[in-house]
C-alpha cells in the first residue's frame, strides 16, 4: 500500500550546520512511526520541514502521494496533515470549546464561513466529540490558558485531531507530564490509529518501545537506523549513539 507520508532525501542547513541531512523514510497508514534521537538530532526541525514551518533546501515531502515539498502550513494542513508543538501552542484566551471549534471549522462547507458560528453544525458536533473523547467536556468553558499542563497537552492533541486529518505529527505529547498522565496519553495516542496515521517524537524510551510500530533513529541530522522497535533497540550503532551504553 502507498505510504501516507513519504519523506525523500530531506535536508536543510542553518549556516554551516546540516540540521537535517539526507533523511528518508515512510509512514504507513494507521501505524505509529516514532522519531527518536538525542537532543539536537534534528527531530523538531524535521517536523518543521514536513509541516511547512520551514522550507527544505533539498528533498521531497509527499503527503498521500502528492508532492507538498515547501508548501505553506495552511496547505499541508489542507492536504491532511495536522501537527502539535513541543511547547504547547493553544489559544490561551479562548475557551477549550472554542479552541476545538476553531480547528474543526475547516470541516464546514465554505458557504457557512459567513453565517453565525452557531450554525456550524459539523464543527460543533466534532467539537462535542473531541470534548468527550479527550475527557475535557466538563472544562469546555474554561479558558485554555487556565488548564493544567496535562489538560493543555491533551487539548493540544484534540485540537490537532478536530479537523479530521489523515496524518498527525505529535511533538513530544507527554512532555512534562506526570507518570499517570503519560500512561493515559499513551493509551489515547494508541487509540487514535483507527482514524489517523501518527508520526511521533518521543523521549520516553519505554513509551516508544510500547507504542511504536516503526522507529526512525536520528543522530546529528541524519537517519541512523530504522525498523521495528526491538530491532532498532538491538542495533549496536543506535545503542552507541543514543542509549549511550552498549
Amino acid at each position: 500500500m502507498k505510504p501516507v507520508l513519504d519523506i525523500r532525501d530531506l535536508g536543510i542547513s542553518f549556516g554551516g550546520l546540516k540540521a537535517v541531512d539526507q533523511v528518508s523514510f515512510q509512514a504507513q497508514r494507521h501505524r505509529i512511526t516514532t522519531v527518536i534521537g538525542p537532543n539536537g538530532a534534528g527531530k523538531s526541525t524535521l517536523f518543521n520541514l514536513i509541516s511547512g514551518a520551514l522550507k527544505p533546501h533539498r528533498g521531497q515531502v509527499l503527503i498521500d502521494g502528492v508532492d507538498m515539498t515547501g508548501a505553506a502550513p495552511e496547505r499541508t494542513k489542507a492536504a491532511g496533515l495536522s501537527r502539535s508543538f513541543q511547547i504547547t501552542s493553544l489559544f490561551p484566551e479562548l475557551t477549550v470549546a472554542e479552541n476545538l471549534r476553531l480547528a474543526a471549522q475547516v470541516l464546514e462547507p465554505t458557504g457557512r464561513a459567513f453565517l453565525p458560528v452557531g450554525r456550524s453544525t459539523q464543527a460543533l458536533a466534532r467539537t462535542g466529540q473531541m470534548l468527550e473523547r479527550f475527557q475535557l467536556a466538563h472544562k469546555r468553558d474554561d479558558l485554555a490558558g487556565n488548564l493544567s499542563h496535562g489538560d493543555q497537552r491533551r487539548l493540544e492533541i484534540a485540537v490537532c485531531l478536530a479537523s479530521e486529518p489523515k496524518i498527525l505529527l505529535l511533538d513530544e505529547p507527554t512532555q512534562g507530564m506526570s507518570h499517570g498522565d503519560t500512561a493515559q496519553t499513551a493509551r489515547l495516542v494508541r487509540s487514535l490509529t483507527d482514524d489517523v496515521t501518527i508520526l511521533l517524537i518521543e523521549h520516553d524510551i519505554g513509551l516508544v518501545m510500547d507504542l511504536s510500530d516503526h522507529v526512525v533513529v536520528m543522530h546529528q541530522g541524519r537517519k541512523l537506523a530504522e525498523g521495528p522497535p526491538d530491532l532498532v533497540r538491538a542495533d549496536p550503532a543506535v545503542q552507541a549513539a543514543y542509549f549511550g551504553h552498549a
Partner: protein, 351 residues
C-alpha cells in the same frame, strides 16, 4: 449553543441598544428645544465613533495596532466631498467613498501587512502621514486650507427625504449608519470568518497550522477596517461642509486609539462609547481651559493604569453573567453530543 464569545457579543449588543435609546432620547430633547450646537457635536462624535470602531476591529480582534486609520477616514471624506460637489447625492458619495477606501486599503494592506507589531504601527502611521502631506500640498484638493463649499444635500429614501442641514435629521442618519457598521462588524466577528481574526490576536503562530492563511485573514481585517473608516469619513463633509488635511493627521488616528482604550479594547461598542466620551470631555474641559489636551492626556494615562480594560471592559463581564443566568435555554437547545458536558456542568453548578 453556549459560546463565550457569542455571549460577550450579546452583552455588547445590550450596551449598543442602551446607546441607541439614549441617543434617540437626547435627539428628541434636542429637537424639542431647537438645539443645533449639541446635535451637531453629537453627530461629529458619532462620525468619529465609526473611525474608532475600525481601530477596535484591528486592535481588539485581529490584534494589530493601526496608528494611521485616519488615512482611510480622510480618503472617505475627500472622495465624498469631491463627489458631492459634482453631484449632490448621499448614496453616490457613500458608494464612491466605499470604492475608494476599498482600493486604498487593499494597497495599504499589501504594504502594512508585510510586517507586524510595532513595525505595523509605524508603517500605518507613515502611510497616513505621507498621504496627509500629499493632500496638504495638492492645490487641486485645496492644499492646507482643505475644500470648502460642499453643498448641503437632501438624503432621499424612496418617497422620503432628510436634509443634511437638519440637525436632528442628519444626527439620526449618522446614528443609523454608524450602528449599521457596528452591527455588520459584530455579525462578521461571530462567524467562522470572524473567529479566525480573533484567533490571530490569541495566537497568530498557531493559525496556519489550523489551515487558515494568516496573510488573508490580516488582509480581510485591514480592508474591512479601512472601509468602515472610509464610510464614516464620507459623512464628515455632509455635516461640516468642508474637509481639511487635518482629518488624515496623526491627531485624528490618535484620538481614535484613545477612544478605543477609554471605551474598552475588543468590545466593539466600547469604541463608540469611548468616542462620545472623548468628545464630551474635550468640550467640557475645553470650556475651562485651552490646555484641555494636557488634561485629556492625563486622563488617558490614568485610564491605562487603573482601568486597562476600559469602561465597557469593566461593565461587560457583569452583563455577560447576568445574560447567562437569565438564559438557561442553551441547555435545552444544545446538541445531543454535548449531553455529557451538560450533565457535568449541571452537576458542578448545582453542588
Amino acid at each position: 449553543m453556549h459560546d463565550r464569545l457569542t455571549q460577550s457579543m450579546r452583552a455588547s449588543h445590550l450596551l449598543a441598544l442602551l446607546f441607541v435609546l439614549a441617543a434617540l432620547g437626547l435627539a428628541a430633547m434636542g429637537a424639542a428645544t431647537g438645539d443645533t450646537f449639541y446635535l451637531r457635536l453629537g453627530t461629529e462624535a458619532l462620525i468619529f465613533a465609526g473611525l474608532a470602531l475600525s481601530v477596535d476591529l484591528l486592535l481588539g480582534y485581529s490584534g494589530a495596532l493601526s496608528l494611521g486609520q485616519a488615512l482611510y477616514f480622510g480618503i472617505g471624506a475627500y472622495v465624498s466631498a469631491l463627489t458631492l460637489m459634482k453631484l449632490p447625492s448621499f448614496w453616490l458619495a457613500m458608494a464612491a467613498a466605499f470604492l475608494a477606501t476599498l482600493i486604498a486599503s487593499i494597497i495599504g494592506g499589501l504594504i502594512a501587512n508585510r510586517v507586524r507589531g510595532v513595525y505595523f504601527a509605524l508603517i500605518t502611521f507613515g502611510l497616513a502621514q505621507v498621504m496627509a502631506k500629499v493632500v496638504y500640498n495638492t492645490r487641486e484638493l485645496g492644499a492646507s486650507d482643505g475644500m470648502i463649499g460642499i453643498p448641503v444635500i437632501e438624503i432621499g429614501f424612496g418617497p422620503f427625504s432628510v436634509s443634511a442641514g437638519s440637525p436632528v435629521g442628519f444626527f439620526l442618519i449618522v446614528l443609523a449608519v454608524i450602528m449599521g457598521l457596528y452591527a455588520l462588524t459584530a455579525y462578521l466577528l461571530d462567524t467562522p470568518f470572524g473567529r479566525v481574526l480573533t484567533a490571530l490576536k490569541a495566537n497568530e503562530k498557531r493559525v496556519p497550522f489550523l489551515g487558515y492563511s494568516v496573510w488573508r485573514a490580516r488582509m480581510a481585517a485591514y480592508v474591512l477596517a479601512g472601509v468602515i473608516a472610509g464610510l464614516s469619513g464620507a459623512l464628515y463633509p455632509m455635516l461640516r461642509g468642508f474637509v481639511s488635511p487635518e482629518l488624515m493627521f496623526f491627531a485624528t488616528s490618535g484620538n481614535a486609539v484613545i477612544s478605543v482604550v477609554l471605551g474598552g479594547v475588543g468590545t466593539l461598542i466600547g469604541a463608540i462609547y469611548g468616542s462620545v466620551l472623548l468628545v464630551i470631555l474635550k468640550s467640557i474641559i475645553g470650556s475651562w481651559t485651552e490646555h484641555h489636551l494636557i488634561v485629556i492626556g492625563l486622563l488617558f494615562m490614568l485610564c491605562v493604569m487603573f482601568l486597562p480594560r476600559g469602561l465597557v471592559g469593566v461593565v461587560r463581564p457583569a452583563i455577560e453573567t447576568w445574560l447567562s443566568r437569565r438564559r438557561p435555554a442553551p441547555v435545552a437547545a444544545a446538541d445531543p453530543a454535548d449531553l455529557p458536558a451538560i450533565i457535568a456542568e449541571t452537576a458542578r453548578t448545582s453542588r
